[in-house]
């Protein structure tokens, strides 16, 4: 099980979701993708994406200055 990091800091929504979608085919079942983002709707968008595509929203960590770190599992 690999853990990969995707940095979307500075990108406005919905660009982070599009970045995740592009990265998704490279992920194997069980792999974890850690995404960094600071867009106001970042968490909401990632949650919707996970729900729609059947991925697991593992955790979210608020790192201040609107910066959030989200882990999702494939």
């Amino acid at each position: 099980m690999a853990v990969e990091v995707l940095d979307t800091l500075g990108l406005k929504c919905p660009q982070p979701v599009l970045k995740i979608a592009v990265r998704a085919p490279d992920m194997k079942p069980g792999d974890v993708l850690e995404i960094l983002g600071d867009c106001p709707t970042f968490e909401k968008d990632v949650r919707i994406w996970c729900e729609r595509l059947g991925k697991l929203f593992l955790s979210i960590k608020d790192e201040g200055n609107d910066k959030k770190r989200i882990q999702i599992q494939f």
């Binding site: 599009l18 979608a21 106001p40 709707t41 994406w49």
Partner: protein, 302 residues
């Protein structure tokens, strides 16, 4: 100081609507609404600069009128000061209202520019301009919000389509787009994508079935060939053995008949010839059976 004069007389004025026209008033500068210089003038305080240079003022001013003038001037200055203070308070209120309104607008615009179009500000304001500005900001945020929501819908929809197509390319023919959207184009795209995947899935299933059928037929044909080959082997071997016996005894019989000078020799020769031809035919049958056996190892062609 000379004799007091009347302004309308001194200037031969024809301004009949003037407040002092043809009147006995000698302190015209203290009268509001005179028509000096063909213009309606205001209070003394407002026309004082002009009056101080006027010949009538210079001729008519004296101690008594000076007192009156100063009293009027004092009253007018007080009124003017009150008015200025009132204006000042009014302007202060407007400035504060404008500063507060602009601050709200600034904060809202900052949040919108940071990517949060859900922000709204109360539109009420004592200043119509600020109220309208807030209304414009709210409407702009609303419009941007709609565009952002639309772009989110497109992004999520696009991501799901991408995921489904990727899964199909990996062999998951059960993958389908399920997400719903208010965007008509995305709904149409979902329908087309799912139809396409279903069509591809059907095509692949049919091809698999056809391939299986073909393989089944090839297996049957191979088994049939094997049986035929075995049959050929059996037939050729089984037939050759008694035929050789027949040929051997015919030759022996031919030899005996030849020594006896019997005519039967000729007939036996025909029989031997026939038996030999039959033997060659059986050999050929055996050879053909062997050739077909060698070909069985090859893949059946399309």
């Amino acid at each position: 100081m000379g004799e007091k004069i009347k302004c309308w007389d001194f200037f031969e004025c024809e301004e009949k609507d003037c407040a002092v026209f043809k009147s006995k008033e000698l302190h015209c500068w203290l009268v509001s609404g005179t028509h000096c210089r063909q213009e309606i003038q205001g209070k003394f305080l407002e026309k004082m600069e002009m009056c101080l240079k006027c010949e009538v003022f210079k001729e008519n001013i004296d101690v008594a009128s000076m007192e009156d003038t100063l009293r009027v001037l004092n009253k007018q200055v007080t009124e003017f000061r009150d008015m200025v203070e009132e204006r000042d308070r009014e302007l202060e209120g407007i400035s504060m209202e404008m500063a507060l309104g602009l601050s709200e607008v600034f904060v809202a615009l900052k949040e919108i520019s940071a990517g949060d179009p859900s922000v709204r500000i109360p539109e009420g304001s004592k200043l119509e301009l600020i109220g309208k500005l807030k209304n414009v900001v709210n409407k702009t945020a609303e419009d941007i919000g709609e565009i952002v929501d639309l772009s989110h819908d497109f992004a999520i929809g696009l991501a799901e389509h991408f995921d489904v197509l990727h899964r199909v390319s990996e062999g998951d023919l059960a993958a389908r787009v399920y997400g719903t959207s208010d965007v008509e184009l995305l709904e149409s795209l979902k329908k087309v994508t799912n139809q396409m995947v279903a069509s591809v899935s059907r095509e692949i299933t049919e091809r698999k079935r056809a391939k299986e059928n073909l393989q089944h037929r090839a297996d049957e044909l191979r088994q049939s060939n094997e049986k035929l080959e075995q049959f050929g082997h059996v037939v050729s071997h089984e037939l050759q053995e008694p035929l050789r016996t027949v040929i051997s005894y015919l030759r022996m019989l031919q030899h005996v008949c030849r020594e006896d000078g019997d005519d039967a020799d000729e007939y036996i020769a025909y029989a031997v010839d026939g038996a030999n031809r039959m033997s060659k035919l059986i050999d050929k049958l055996l050879a053909d059976a062997l050739v077909s056996s060698d070909d069985q190892g090859k893949e059946p062609s399309d």
